[in-house]
Symmetry: C3
Subunit: 113 residues, 3 copies
């Protein structure tokens, strides 16, 4: 039953324009966030609930969403690392709780595929 344990982590989702993906993946590499998923072909509008007169996205901008899962102590480094990007360009970051199953559910020690 131990193999079914779920471990609490933090999920970070970052919505940005497609041309800034490398900035974010480099950041995730630098904080040793060890993986990510990218959802392509999304669009967005407005400022997602933030009280500002400056819209984040023009309608139908070509956007991507990067998702990563990190231990809680890595949320702030990611947020801080995104600041230079968000100072110049629009984007949004969401943080939520998530549980993940243990590593031996996801890769076998004897396999390297």
């Amino acid at each position: 039953m131990n193999s079914l344990t779920l471990h609490p982590m933090k999920e970070i989702r970052i919505v940005i324009q497609g041309e800034h993906v490398k900035f974010v993946t480099d950041l995730l590499d630098s904080v040793k966030a060890t993986g990510y998923t990218i959802i392509h072909n999304i669009s967005g509008k407005g400022n997602h609930g933030f009280h500002t007169a400056h819209p984040m996205f023009n309608e139908m901008d070509s956007l991507v969403m990067l998702m990563t899962v990190v231990p809680p102590e890595k949320v702030n480094p990611v947020l801080a690392g995104l600041k230079p990007l968000f100072d110049r360009y629009t984007g949004v970051m969401f943080v939520s709780d998530v549980s993940v199953s243990r590593v031996d559910h996801f890769s076998t020690p004897s396999s390297d595929r």
Copy 2:
């Protein structure tokens, strides 16, 4: 460090057929949900855990998922506003907790891009 504060909000995700996107975005505008992200090219099947004999989606329907983040008090108005749509057509709405970084991470006061 104050700039790294995360604020608790509610994330709403709505899965609908593509032709009803405008109904939902009009609703989000009317409750002053100030932005949204749309994930295109998704498919769905079944009724997502609801106990009903009426499937929500036929397999391979062309669906979209709208995501928005609102303060907690706006969840019920969105839910109520979707009722006329869900009375006639199939769809599903999920609500979950999310934290967002403060607005000065996402747009600069001096910029209007």
Copy 3:
């Protein structure tokens, strides 16, 4: 107001290579998870925070994300059912809290579309 009640459930997201979708949907059917949404055209890299030398995904693998919502007692059966897949192939499963509105928001008793 009763119609606006939100019910706590568990959201399961499973990221896998596209060729394994049927394995997962068959599993979801077998545990009576009554629906799912599939996000196509995503990509991934690395091992999503898991401490292993074995990357889960090669960069730019063609992946899909399946999302389903189940009562809490069905999380472990899904996790157990995925083990044979994850023993052979790479993939990842996330579990998070979600609330859903009641069924009469999503389908009308008199309609079978």
